[in-house]
């Protein structure tokens, strides 16, 4: 039985490093709300994103300066892209994806390999549940891309970019994953849902529902 654990609950008597836990004496305790399975594996369910080098992130350009760009990364402080790292010109409000180059001791993030994302939408997703949205060997995200025909970029910082193709359907799927991230068999459920709601090429989608079908 999977168990929801609260901060301060014991996870293991074995002294080992597990993310989002802390060590006291010879025991490991949960630091955030998480899930503990039968084998003693601990998965956080709610957490605050802490950047690490080589993370792929999605962001929004918030400021353009001579020295570089400030990028909103869904964190307390904006990430920074130095002009030395890029030749491209960005405008404030552009959606971008990039790689974390370095994080300093006070949490400032420098980015590299930043490129612009086409028109679309960015939504924020709880960063602890990102692994579930990606799935084992990207199974979940690849399936969503394939079945909706939308392009999706998942940033580890919790921003998810969706291409313009079919945003409402992708949003519904992503919302479900957010709510049910702690449950098993999610990929199958989403797969079934997407098969039922596959885009009919002849229908016109307005808002969240298919309003009418074009008769040929």
């Amino acid at each position: 039985m999977r168990k929801i654990v609260l901060p301060g609950e014991k996870i293991s008597d074995e002294k080992r490093f597990i993310p989002y836990t802390f060590l006291e004496g010879n025991s490991v305790y949960a630091a955030v709300l998480g899930m503990l399975d039968e084998e003693g594996r601990y998965v956080p369910l709610e957490s605050v994103y802490r950047p690490a080098a080589e993370d792929v992130v999605v962001g929004i350009i918030t400021d353009s300066r001579h020295s570089g760009y400030d990028i909103d990364l869904n964190m307390p402080y904006p990430g920074f892209l130095s002009s030395r790292e890029t030749r491209a010109d960005f405008n404030v409000g552009d959606f971008v994806m990039g790689v974390v180059r370095v994080v300093d001791e006070v949490g400032n993030v420098d980015l590299s390999d930043v490129r612009r994302l086409p028109k679309g939408e960015i939504i924020s997703f709880p960063s602890a549940k990102i692994p579930r949205l990606i799935g084992k060997k990207s199974s979940m995200i690849n399936m969503i891309k394939e079945k909706t025909g939308s392009d999706v970029v998942v940033g580890k910082n919790g921003y998810v970019w969706i291409s313009e193709n079919d945003i409402p359907l992708v949003l519904r799927v992503i919302n479900t994953i957010m709510q049910k991230a702690h449950m098993s068999g999610l990929t199958d459920e989403i797969s079934k849902f997407l098969d039922e709601h596959k885009i009919d090429k002849n229908s016109v989608r307005i808002g969240n529902s298919i309003e009418f079908t074009i008769q040929k």
Partner: protein, 255 residues
């Protein structure tokens, strides 16, 4: 002088008759407690506590950019707490709403409770805001606030070393009781709110109005430990419920 403005008073009325208190509880019984987590969708974590006649709403934000910037610490997140009583929350016993001596004091003691629990060093230059609004007051709002804030912080994913539960203890009609209501608080001999962390049983808050002997304080601590256990159970159930309700929902996909 407002009508009924007595912080501590005396009454001819007997508050405990045959071991039963004015609302029919025994001396170690707590009032009905209900906690709901995730009530504010835009907050990172939130909780609503309904405890007897108290209604307390708590929203947690952060870690986020520290404002004003000169207060930011490179060593960790700053914890800020604001306890506030609503103008309609039964004010006669508490003076007035808005920032005042009483609410500043309670904000400070609640902040200190969570400064001892939150692992703040992971988030330099940021702040964590705990906003507590008392919507309805009936004695013991500070312990209800701590109970709400603890559940809200846990659901916000802010790393903590422990979960805290709080309970008011006190002396009424010469007997030690837990979870004092408004009348017991005002007309009892003494009241002593206590906040205990669940795992280590650390005393994170202990204040006292009135007088108690050493034996009475030890008795109160013992009673508080047992009552905090009950409060903790409700907190855990409330946090787990948000995940269990997702599992039970018949609605397959929702937006």
């Amino acid at each position: 002088m407002f009508e009924g403005e007595h912080m501590a008073g005396t009454t001819d009325k007997q508050l405990i008759i045959d071991g039963k208190r004015t609302d029919g509880r025994t001396i170690d019984e707590i009032r009905p407690l209900r906690i709901e987590v995730g009530v504010i969708s835009s907050a990172d974590g939130s909780a609503l506590v309904e405890w007897g006649g108290n209604k307390v709403l708590c929203g947690v934000y952060g870690p986020r950019e520290c404002i004003p910037k000169h207060e930011a610490s490179p060593y960790g997140a700053l914890i800020k707490c604001r306890y506030s009583m609503s103008p309609f929350a039964s004010l006669s016993e508490h003076g007035r709403s808005g920032p005042n001596r009483r609410s500043l004091e309670i904000s400070k003691v609640i902040r200190e409770v969570f400064e001892n629990l939150i692992i703040a060093e992971n988030f330099p230059k940021t702040q964590i805001n705990i906003f507590i609004d008392v919507l309805q007051a009936d004695g013991g709002t500070r312990v209800a606030s701590i109970t709400a804030a603890s559940a809200a912080l846990a659901s916000a994913g802010i790393p903590m070393r422990d979960v805290v539960s709080a309970i008011a203890t006190g002396k009424v009609d010469g007997q030690m009781v837990v979870d004092l209501g408004k009348d017991e608080d005002n007309f009892g001999q003494s009241d002593m709110p206590i906040a205990l962390s669940h795992r280590k049983k650390d005393i994170l808050l202990l204040q006292m109005d009135g007088l108690l002997t050493k034996e009475e304080i030890l008795k109160a601590l013992d009673m508080a430990e047992k009552s905090c256990e009950k409060v903790h159970e409700v907190q855990v159930a409330a946090v787990r419920k948000i995940y269990e309700s997702a599992a039970l929902s018949e609605q397959k996909i929702s937006l």
